[in-house]
């Protein structure tokens, strides 16, 4: 830094070499880092296209009870209400992602992690959940209970 006039001849060349060397090393490290960064991010899960699952068979569930089923890569909750209708919801709590359960004694859906309560239709009633549970369509095909995503209106 001191005395630009006193720079010995050749120091610009030296600096150029240093830039080339430093730049080359930086580029090398960047070329290591890029694949590693891409590598550590897991590839997307393939089974996102699931639109329809068989959640169970008629007669598996007693009235006023619920059961967890697999809907693609996430859990769903199938409820048979005491009046005999089926209801299917996403079982992932909208608060912090715990898996909810049906409580026959409350006739409500309950998340044990932070005491969140939802109605049978998925509406968030009390506790921390900020949003309702996604409701799915249920229909019967023979004795199979088929759950599908709700059609966008």
């Amino acid at each position: 830094m001191s005395g630009e006039q006193n720079t010995p001849p050749g120091s610009t060349r030296r600096r150029a070499i240093e830039y080339f060397l430093g730049g080359g090393i930086l580029a090398t490290f960047a070329s290591f880092l890029y694949p590693v960064l891409r590598y550590v991010v897991p590839p997307p899960v393939a089974d996102l296209g699931v639109n329809e699952v068989v959640a169970g068979k008629v007669g598996d569930l007693k009235p006023n009870s619920g059961a967890i089923f697999r809907f693609g890569s996430s859990p769903g909750l199938l409820i048979l209400t005491s009046d005999g209708t089926y209801q299917a919801l996403s079982a992932t709590c909208t608060h912090l992602g715990c898996t909810v359960q049906y409580r026959g004694d409350l006739r409500q859906v309950w998340c044990p992690c932070h005491n969140g309560i939802y109605g049978i239709d998925g509406r968030n009633i009390s506790g921390p959940p900020p949003k309702p549970l996604t409701a799915y369509d249920v229909h019967l095909r023979g004795d199979e209970i088929v759950v599908t995503h709700k059609r966008e209106a």
């Binding site: 694949p35 590693v36 590598y39 550590v40 897991p42």
Partner: protein
């Protein structure tokens, strides 16, 4: 900025005292100096193994039903997974190669003699451990070749008199090579061996640091005759920078090999399938494998297999303790040891080539 942080640390921890020995360390400069690089390159490749190994652990799944599929997943689905695995495999092979080069160079340059006997012993133990890494890591993808190589390799351990059978059961986690073996080898490969290697590397480097670099007797004699020919360079930064250039070349070779010849995965192991024809171990075990093949099944009244395995074991032990058979400087190194070293190098190279070419 960095200077300020260093100063802050130095004020508190007196790091300068720690670095001081490195500043004083010198490396002799002569026509054979380049052999001093191989230990450092081996260490560097070990570093590559640690990093790529940790990355592979992000997706690898040990277990007979998952291992092959998880490696397949790494190779086909994970971005750059093929590259990381290929680098891990290639770096492993290069590391064994450079470790052998390092060992033979130390042998021929007579660097193992007093006071460096323990450096040699720790280095030989590291070489055995590195081969253990190779053997255990080879099984982890759970493909047919690895499965049968492990079967044969552990069966060889079982041939050792008296302790062989219990050792084989210990290695296999049962009488047969199964998923239990895979879990064990995984544990050895990622926990037991790395721990041992880190301890031994620390000892090895401490000894190298403590004792300084050895000068080959011939060159030492030349220097004694002509003191003005004696040359050294500072380890830090002169030698280290040259070493780093060697590492840079190693990285280039590694990247090129991994990209041009990606390591293939083979076929998933079927414990009830029959062994494929032409099955051979990895190249660094070939010389032992071929030795066992050429020994007749009965030598006098001794079982050929047992003879070969016990012979290999004794040869390994002799190698480990080699410095204790040689004379102490300044007397001349023993001729027969040099002869034995040349014979060993030719034997390993020749048997490997024979094993490679043999049907």
């Amino acid at each position: 900025m960095i200077a300020a942080i260093l100063r802050w640390l130095d004020e508190r921890l007196h790091l300068d005292d720690l670095i001081a020995p490195f500043r004083h360390k010198t490396v002799p400069v002569h026509r054979l100096t380049y052999w001093y690089f191989f230990g450092g390159i081996t260490l560097f490749l070990f570093g590559v193994q640690v990093i790529t190994g940790i990355l592979l652990l992000l997706y690898y799944n040990a277990g007979a039903n998952e291992a092959f599929e998880s490696v397949q997943y790494i190779m086909t689905k994970v971005r750059y997974g093929w590259l990381i695995r290929s680098i891990h495999s290639w770096s492993a092979n290069l590391m064994i190669l450079t470790a052998f080069a390092h060992m033979f160079s130390v042998l021929f340059l007579k660097a193992y003699r007093k006071p460096r006997e323990l450096t040699w012993v720790s280095g030989m133990l590291l070489l055995f451990l590195v081969m253990g890494f190779g053997f255990s890591g080879y099984l982890l993808p759970w493909n047919t070749l690895a499965f049968f190589a492990t079967k044969v390799g552990t069966a060889m351990v079982g041939q050792v008199p008296i302790v062989g059978q219990p050792m084989m059961i210990f290695l296999r986690g049962g009488p047969q090579v199964t998923g239990a073996t895979l879990i064990r080898f995984f544990g050895f490969h990622v926990a037991v061996l790395p721990g041992l290697v880190v301890v031994l590397i620390s000892i090895h480097l401490f000894l190298v640091q403590r004792l300084g670099m050895s000068v080959p007797p011939k060159i030492e004699a030349e220097w004694v005759e002509n003191p003005s020919a004696r040359r050294e360079m500072k380890f830090f930064p002169n030698f280290l920078l040259r070493e780093m250039m060697a590492w840079y070349v190693a990285i280039g070779v590694l990247g090129a090999l991994a990209a041009i010849f990606p390591w293939n995965l083979g076929v998933k192991a079927d414990p009830f399938g029959s062994a494929p024809a032409g099955i051979k171990p990895e190249w660094y075990f070939l010389f032992m494998y071929q030795t066992l093949k050429v020994i007749p099944s009965k030598v006098w009244f001794v079982d050929g297999e047992v003879l070969g395995i016990v012979g290999c074991g004794l040869a390994g032990l002799l190698w480990l303790l080699l410095p204790f058979f040689d004379s102490e400087p300044p007397s001349r190194p023993k001729r027969w040891i040099t002869g034995l070293a040349i014979f060993a190098l030719m034997y390993v190279a020749g048997m490997s080539a024979y094993g490679f070419l043999a049907k």
